[in-house]
């Protein structure tokens, strides 16, 4: 039987390490992606990831399952990231090296063909660029929505805004990202067509 996250946290507070391991396995991926895409730097993401879980561990005895565990977890993560931005705004937001590190840590695409790999790399690069261009508030809401599985109301509570504000931020973020990815796809398709036409034309001309 799958136990509720809150129940697992309570069990861990009573000394059940297995409960914590289950809880950790459930949320490690989403939390790590949330922090990685925010920071765009694996080292910073690792530090923040560990910091968040350390705070979860430290607050085990104060935890009360009044809300979903994800809300509790991502509130901590959100606050950690805000503190991180305050500490190192320039490095977190602007560093080109950090962006390179982040791209290098991305997994390979499912399709291992060279052209698919290249296309995937381009898509990820565009996505990354578009994400980086988003205002921090919109990016935060978008990443929370994509990675945490929380509802807009819960995201609004975490980011301390009203539900409509959160929804509006998410709407703008999704629109910009889709436009960036769609536009790039169209450009890529156009370029492919040009290449194909040129390839046909060259033998005929030669």
């Amino acid at each position: 039987m799958d136990l509720d996250d809150g129940e697992l946290m309570l069990r861990y507070a009573r000394g059940d390490l297995r409960a914590f391991e289950t809880l950790y396995q459930r949320h490690r991926g989403g939390l790590y992606r949330y922090l990685s895409r925010h920071t765009r730097n694996p080292e910073s993401a690792n530090d923040l990831f560990q910091e968040v879980w350390s705070k979860v561990i430290a607050s085990r005895e104060r935890y009360e399952p009044r809300a979903k565990f994800q809300t509790f977890l991502y509130r901590i993560a959100h606050n950690c990231f805000v503190d991180y931005c305050r500490r190192s705004t320039v490095r977190a937001e602007v560093s080109g090296d950090a962006q390179e590190d982040w791209q290098g840590s991305l997994p390979a695409p499912d399709d291992d063909r060279p052209d698919s790999r290249a296309e995937h790399a381009q898509t990820v690069a565009r996505y990354k660029a578009a994400l980086a261009e988003l205002p921090a508030e919109q990016r935060d809401v978008f990443l929370l929505y994509e990675e945490s599985g929380l509802s807009l109301e819960e995201i609004a509570a975490i980011t301390a805004v009203g539900p409509e504000t959160a929804k509006s931020r998410l709407r703008y973020a999704v629109s910009k990202l889709r436009h960036a990815l769609g536009t790039a796809s169209e450009l890529s398709a156009t370029r492919s067509e040009v290449v194909a036409v040129t390839a046909k034309a060259v033998p005929e001309g030669g």
């Binding site: 914590f20 991926g29 560990q50 898509t123």
Partner: protein, 217 residues
């Protein structure tokens, strides 16, 4: 290019589906923390609920307690015996004159048994009442607890003491017999028997004292 808010229907569809904004980004789901980080965090969680490792404490060997108790009891007994022996010696120190008198009486009785006429008819009960039984000295008690391991000097002293003791017994028997014959008073023997019983009890106490002395030495 202008990028305004999404159309409501597309955005609501995105909210309902809860999928990635673009299918091509599904590979991003495989981004996960390194295994080393997992181990660190699980280790932190374990450490938090288990606390610091217990500091090894000094533990005495298992035999220490009974050994200590036995030693304490032995020392206490020896101290008590020592005190008892000293007390007994102190008491004995105050009786040499009485002992000498008793021995001289015994010696006289052995050397020359008195004829019946030597004892006045009415003096025998008085003699029994007034002449005390010789107090026990250490020599006497050693003789009473006679064992095969006696030193030669002690054996000699013991045999001497035994002889005097026998003489003393004979004297007391003669006195009693004379008293019975002359006076026909049965109360004399009745008075003498408790005296003999007390002498035996005193001898037993002296044996214990001597054994305590030996242990102490």
């Amino acid at each position: 290019m202008m990028t305004g808010p999404e159309r409501d229907d597309e955005f609501e569809a995105y909210l309902r589906r809860r999928v990635r904004i673009d299918r091509r980004l599904r590979s991003l789901d495989r981004l996960e923390p390194p295994a080393e980080l997992d181990q660190i965090i699980i280790g932190q969680a374990r450490h938090a609920i288990q606390g610091a490792p217990p500091v090894p404490m000094f533990r005495a060997p298992r035999w220490a307690l009974p050994m200590g108790m036995a030693a304490t009891i032995l020392i206490s007994l020896s101290v008590l015996l020592d005190l008892g022996v000293r007390d007994a010696i102190r008491k004995d120190a105050g009786r040499p004159a009485v002992l000498t008198r008793a021995h001289s009486i015994s010696a006289a009785a052995v050397a020359a048994p008195a004829p019946e006429s030597a004892f006045p008819t009415n003096a025998a009960p008085a003699a029994i009442e007034t002449a005390p039984w010789p107090p026990l000295s250490r020599t006497v008690t050693i003789e009473v607890s006679a064992s095969a391991t006696k030193a030669p000097a002690e054996q000699e002293a013991a045999s001497a003491s035994e002889a005097s003791d026998n003489a003393r017994s004979r004297v007391s028997e003669q006195v009693l017999a004379t008293s019975r014959l002359r006076t026909g008073d049965a109360s004399v023997s009745a008075r003498a028997e408790p005296l003999q019983a007390s002498w035996q009890a005193e001898a037993q106490m002296a044996v214990v004292t001597v054994i305590g002395t030996r242990i102490h030495q």
